[in-house]
Every structure is written in structure tokens, then in C-alpha cells.
């Protein structure tokens, strides 16, 4: 798995400012936005692939997974950031895991009680949020070094980016694999479902194609900016 490319600047600059409340609203926005796009956990960092591939065979499942991860990530980032000065470094990972596992279990029981059908669909993957490297990664790289405000902004951004990616993949796979979106049939009863799309191989293929698309988009944009620069120089 590729390493997290760009999260170090955020984490690094944050650690210097820790303790100092630099109430900069712009910074909060920046921490939020980086998870959505520039450092998107799936499209850029390629983290949390297990739930990404396993439960995105329908948009509803993807959304439930996104919501559960959102709850766990925001909750644990908040707590870890709040307690960051009380937790000794030597036991920080174990403490993070205890915190994360608690949130996951709460999410698990709640889903089981309120939405038993979705819980059945997601199966063990709700409990497996504990080992989603995205969550522990954010605690270690960001929440443990930043103020509560920034940590929560970062967590909301990252979890939001993760949920968007899940929804992207889940929607495409549901449209192709079942001919419907959120359970609403799109093509009528004569549609021939692409069975592979709701099976694990379809997840891999679709994720690969989406990553391909995003990288292509990025390179196009870089190209475009370059030519814009040249144009500006020429005009001058």
C-alpha cells in the first residue's frame, strides 16, 4: 500500500501549533477540505480498502458504512485530541485502539438495534472498522498533535472524503450490477445486471478504474495549469 503522501505537512505544522489556540477559521476550513479532495483517503491515500471493496455493492450499504466510519472517526479524533496531553506516548496506540473500539462497538450495537437489515448486509465489516487504517492513521498523524477544533475538522473532512468515495463506488457498482440506485430501478425490468459488479472482483475493477480516472483528471489539470502559465507569459 502506498504511504500517505501529503498528510505530513498538515500533521507537522499542526504539532508546532499544538496548545496554542490559533482560532484561524481558514485553517479549520483547510483541514476540512484536504480530506475531501487533495488528500482524499481513498483516491489519494488509498487507505481503508477492506471496507471500500467489501461493502460497496450498493449505494445504501456504502452510505451506511460511510456514516458508521464518520461517527467512529470524528468521535475518536475528538477524544484523542482532547486527551492528547494525558496519554503517555508509550501506550498511545493501545489507548487509541481502546477508544476506537468503543466507538465501533457503539456503532455496531446501534445499527443492529435500529437498522437490522443493513447490519445484516454489512455483517462483520462494521466491527472491522476498528482495524481500518484510516482511523488509527488520523489519530496518530493528526488528532494526537492538534487542537480539538482542528482535529475534528480534519476528521470530518477525512470521513467525509471516505464517505464520498464509498458512495461513488457504491453507486456505480449498484447501477451496473443491479440496474438500480438506492434500490430504485433505473432501466426497467429488462435490464441485464453485470453480476461481476456486485462481486468482489467488480469492486477491484471499478476502484481501479476510478483511481485511473482521478489520476487522469489530476494530470489533465496540471497540464492545463501549465499551459495557462505559458499563455500568461506569452501575453506578457
Amino acid at each position: 500500500m502506498p504511504s500517505i503522501p501529503a498528510s505530513s505537512p498538515g500533521g507537522g505544522s499542526g504539532s508546532q501549533g499544538s496548545g496554542v489556540a490559533d482560532g484561524d477559521w481558514e485553517r479549520v476550513q483547510a483541514e476540512f477540505m484536504k480530506g475531501i479532495w487533495k488528500e482524499n483517503p481513498v483516491f489519494v491515500q488509498v487507505l481503508g480498502m477492506c471496507p471500500m471493496l467489501a461493502v460497496t455493492n450498493s449505494a445504501v450499504n456504502a452510505m451506511a458504512m460511510g456514516a458508521a466510519t464518520f461517527f467512529v472517526l470524528v468521535g475518536s479524533s475528538f477524544l484523542v485530541s482532547l486527551l492528547r496531553n494525558f496519554i503517555p506516548r508509550q501506550v498511545r496506540i493501545s489507548t487509541y485502539i481502546v477508544i476506537i473500539a468503543t466507538f465501533v462497538t457503539v456503532a455496531d450495537f446501534t445499527l443492529q438495534a435500529l437498522l437490522p437489515d443493513i447490519h445484516r448486509e454489512l455483517g462483520a465489516f462494521i466491527s472491522l472498522i476498528v482495524v481500518n487504517c484510516l482511523i488509527l492513521g488520523r489519530q496518530e498523524a493528526f488528532a494526537s498533535k492538534n487542537t480539538v477544533k482542528h482535529a475534528v475538522a480534519d476528521a470530518v473532512g477525512m470521513a467525509g472524503g471516505f464517505a464520498i468515495a464509498l458512495l461513488c463506488l457504491g453507486s456505480v457498482r449498484e447501477i451496473l450490477g443491479s440496474g438500480s440506485l438506492f434500490g430504485v430501478s433505473l432501466f426497467g425490468s429488462g435490464y441485464e445486471p453485470w453480476v461481476i459488479m456486485i462481486l468482489p472482483p467488480g469492486g477491484f475493477i471499478m476502484l481501479g478504474l476510478i483511481l485511473l480516472f482521478f489520476n487522469w483528471l489530476k494530470s489533465r489539470r496540471a497540464h492545463w495549469l501549465q499551459s495557462l502559465d505559458k499563455l500568461g507569459e506569452g501575453a506578457r
Binding site: S3, I4, S7, S8, G11, G12, F86, I87, P88, R89, Q90, V91, S94, T95, V98, I99, A101, T102, T105, V106, F109, T110, Q112, A113, L114, P116, H119, R120, G123, A124, G137, E140, A141, S144, K145, G177, P193, V195, I198, L199
Partner: protein, 262 residues
Amino acid sequence: MNQQQSVLPESANLGADQPSSLRLISTLGLAGLISGLCLVGIYTITLPRIEANKARTLKEAVLQVLPGSVSMEELVWNGQGLIPVEQAGEASYTESIYAAYNRDGSLVGYAIPEDGAGFQDTIRLIYGYRPDSREIVGMRVLESRETPGLGDKIYKDQAFQENFRALSVSPEVVAVKHGSKNAPNQVDCITGATISSKAVVRILRQGNQTWLERIDKSASGTTENGKLPGVPGARNGEVSVPSAEPGIESRRPALPAGSQGR
């Protein structure tokens, strides 16, 4: 990945501010304690809902595979007869079936849960058996991971489900090639999903083998209006347990589809 960035400087100054072991242990202990308390809390709050969900799923399945039934009761085999699970000791049984009753309180039939290997993973199903006509009258798949589009037709294909509306169990249930069903004990296989169809039939046979004889033995002691030997004649009045309190009917939440972790 991230660790590398943060671990290196820390390990460098580890010697400088090494906290006491007591502090480490107490931090972890405290975290565990608080976490444990939270979990106990959420467990207590959600448990009734979860149990109710499971029981409702089970009840729906039982009542669906035995058309005409409105209430049910869990039965276990104690070696001589079928007795309600309440009367059996905790350790005396490993599997149970469900007796279903109609509005008058007389027996409609038995719902038998059974599982076995399918094409990809275990198929768990429940089917309704009427001892009076010696027929299977309904089948519902509770859990399966059969191939979408092919094997999943065992519960999505209406025509396949029709096989189990009145499926005779004597002679033994057999699977036949699609379109060639011509006897009441035959099951029409699904084209392209022969293995899954045959798996369902095999699971039915397996269930029949275990339970039909027991049901017969138990029924020989049954009174004419369908009451069970173990149950005193007063079923008529107290049968219809409202679904709001399904916990009464089935104390063992082992069956419903959601309970099996994947």
C-alpha cells in the same frame, strides 16, 4: 507509514521523560474501565431492540413458511417427544423446531430450520412441514452467499419457490432437471443454478431425516385437535402472543439470520 514520522523523535527522547509503569498501567486501566462502562451502557440499552428484531425476523419466517399460522412455539426433542423449550433443561438439546398454530389454536405444522453447504457458503433455510398431509408447504432462505444472478434464484425465483408450496416428503424429495417435474416429491431445478438447487434439496432431506420421525413419534401421542402431549389442553386461550413481546415465544435467539457473524 505515519508511525515512522512520529516514532523516531519520540524514541530519541524516551530516556528523558520515561513515565512510571504505574502511570502507563493506570492510563490503560482507566481507558479500559471507561470504555467498558460505555459498552455495558449501550449493550443494556440496545439489547431489547436487538432481541426483538431477531425474534421478529424468526417469527416472520416461521409464519411465512406455514401459511395460515398466527403464532408459534419453540420445541425441542428430549429423546421421547417434542416438548416446549421452556420445559427442557438448558443442556438437554442442541437444535429446535417451531410449531405454528392457527387462529383457533390448533396445529398448522412445524417450521424446521436447517443448514448445509451451498455452492459458495452455507445456506441456512427454514421450511414449513405439515404432518397431516405429509407435505412441505413453504421454504425460506435465511442466509446464503450464492452467486448473484444465478444461485440467488433459490430465493429470488418465484417459480422455484412454487416447488415448495406442496412438496410431498414421501418418497424422498428429489431434484430433477428444469421443466421435468411430474411428481409431487420432485423439485424443478433452476437452469444455470443446478448446484444451488440441489443443495436446497439436500438440506431439506437432511432436515427431514432428523425431524420427520420425531414429529411422527410425537404426533402418535397427540390428541385429535392437534395438541401436543407436553402441552396441557389450555392452548386455545393463550396462544396468540402479540408480536410486540416476541421474546416470550423464543428465548433462544440463535436462529435468526442476523445472528450469525460473518
